[in-house]
Amino acid sequence: MSSDTTTKIPEAAAAPPPGAATPKRRVPQGHQRLLTRRDRIALGLMAGLPTILHVALVWVTALASIALAFTTWDGIGFDSIQWVGLRNFEELFEQNPQFWPAVEHNVIWFVVLIALPTPLGLFLAVQLDKNIRFSRVYQTAFFLPVVLSMAVIGFVWQLVYNPDTGLINSIIGANEPGRYIDWIGDPDLNLWAILIAASWRHTGYMMILYLAGLKGVDPSLREASALDGANEWQTFKNVIFPTLRPTNTVVLVVTIIEALRAFDLVYVFNKGAEGTELLSILVTNNIIGESSRIGYGSAIAVVLLVISLAVIIPYLVATFRKERRA
């Protein structure tokens, strides 16, 4: 539904001829009237050049993905592009054995991130917000994984999960033939193993967002609640948490987007082999794999695009609307 609205937006904004932009003022400021012709040209270039780059590389390519999703193409010459209507989607939804597992894994990814690291990050933030000694040291420790690249996190956790040499199997004595627990290779285990690594990183991120949110809570609220005789948990539940609503919205959106974007960690772990398929991995495998099924890969990208826009657009529209009112 929202893909419709957004596909129009880039076109509308792709060519903002600000030189010619009718300076209809929403707020009377008398600003535009003073602009000289040269100023208008300067403004046009200042906004125009970045917009052209951004729209060409991000939005035009996103639109092109949509177009390609209705074709088949082996990538050699443009003559071989053939319109096939919805065939790619039919094949994707009905035949591809990897598609529905990938969708399911993306959903699981989101559910796990919202169920484990988010409350944990909130908990840590609430504790660290109490102004205790060494707060900064603790904060750094929990936040450190966020600074690392997903690729590095993938390598580090492989050292933990490796069946032969890994930390876990070495400790529980499962590193001998016959007793192996194959955390990376077993399709029943590998997604969960990766999700622990992903949650490890996500917790620090959530902690920082909530810490920033908690800094904005009016201290007099706490005092009032203490005077009313509320204990710590009651204060948090009835006073603090409700004021964190804006942060919660951001956290929800960030987490959905992280779940849709998930890629690096899985790619480093096992390239999205059995048990860890994700939509992002399927798209990538269709271009850099040897198959080069461009139309088909684009159809998967379109599924990803539609889901993303269904989250991004309402969120941003609400955000901007609020800002304008403010």
Binding site: A12, A13, P16, P18, A21, T22, P23, R25, H31, Q32, L34, D39, L43, M46, A47, L49, L53, H54, V55, L57, V58, V60, T61, S65, G75, Q127, I132, F134, F142, F143, L144, V147, L148, S149, M150, A151, V152, F155, L159, N162, S170, I208, L209, P246, T249, V250, I257, F263, Y267, L279, V283, T284, I287, G297, S298, A301, L305, L309, I312, L316
Partner: protein, 294 residues
């Protein structure tokens, strides 16, 4: 700082506080355990660990794996590749997005909100949504003599462009919020004095944005340094890879020596850790600049 010390003196130490300290003092090292384990593995020799197992007391700890990983894999070269990509990408992103932010936040053109929406939404898209046409586009664009590959594909320039295009969405959003908070009188006075739009931007607004720019620069450096996906798809020659994706290629060669892989992975993380520890305040404020609006 002094106020917290003061309150500490005044309030009696409650058991709950002690419990919290015990919890955090235990949880924080446990949280870092995977990294510490990687460090421990990296400091032991392969011969020793394969004989005694990984969970064992070390005979000898050394940084040999780090020096080996660095020299054997030519990491310096990949690090230079990354710098060639990241430095221009960060600077150009900040430059372009600050201009867009200036346009959007200091004037009341009709398309302002739509424009900002386009930038911000673009930044939130998963990269795979655009990669297929982008990859084809990069293969189509010939740049003989400009890039080593003769194309936009497989070049540092190509990576710089996509980083700029993608990240300018986030930066434009943050900077426009920041610029909107600057008093309008500043530029109006200049305007009355006959200062051109460019001068208002370059000499008045931009210098005032320094804190936000510093925060964004820190954040962008780490993000672009950590990029894995764009380089994986848009660079084909191993030689041209930035360090994060090069590491992925190199592990093939090291496959039999996890200790060396650990050392290599930790080495690539060092620059981001340095940036983080030195510019912690900027980094954290950058993350929350964009997120705490709303």
């Amino acid at each position: 700082m002094s106020s917290t010390v003061m309150t500490k003196v005044r309030t009696p130490v409650r058991p709950a506080r002690i419990l919290l300290h015990v919890f955090l003092a235990g949880a924080a090292p446990a949280w870092l355990a995977p990294l510490l384990w990687a460090l421990y593995s990296a400091m032991r020799s392969y011969a020793e660990t394969s004989e005694k197992g990984y969970v064992s007391w070390p005979d000898k700890l050394s940084f040999d794996n780090f020096t080996n990983a660095f020299t054997q894999s030519d990491m310096g070269h990949y690090f230079v590749n990354t710098v060639i990509i990241a430095v221009p990408a960060v600077l150009v992103t900040l430059f372009l997005s600050s201009m867009v932010a200036f346009y959007v936040s200091r004037f009341d053109f009709r398309l302002n909100l739509a424009l900002l929406l386009v930038f911000t939404a673009g930044n939130l898209l998963p990269q795979q949504v655009v990669i297929t046409p982008l990859y084809r586009l990069y293969l189509l664009i010939d740049l003989p003599g400009i890039t080593m590959s003769g194309k936009l594909y497989d070049s540092a320039l190509g990576l710089v462009l996509i980083h700029v295009a993608f990240q300018s969405g986030f930066c434009a959003f943050v900077l426009s919020n920041y610029m909107r908070s600057l008093p309008h009188e500043l530029t109006e006075a200049a305007l009355v004095d006959g200062a051109s739009v460019w001068r208002q931007y370059w000499q008045i607004v931009l210098p005032l944005c320094r804190p936000a720019m510093a925060a964004l620069a820190t954040l962008l450096s780490i993000w672009i340094y950590n990029d894995f996906f764009w380089a994986l798809v848009l660079i084909s020659t191993g030689e041209n890879m930035p360090i994060t994706s090069a590491l992925n290629n190199l592990t093939g060669a090291y496959f039999t020596d996890p200790n060396l892989v650990a050392a290599g992975a930790l080495l690539t993380a060092i620059p981001t850790l340095i940036v983080y520890f030195v510019l912690q305040r900027q980094f954290v404020s950058g993350l929350t600049l964009g997120a705490n609006k709303g």
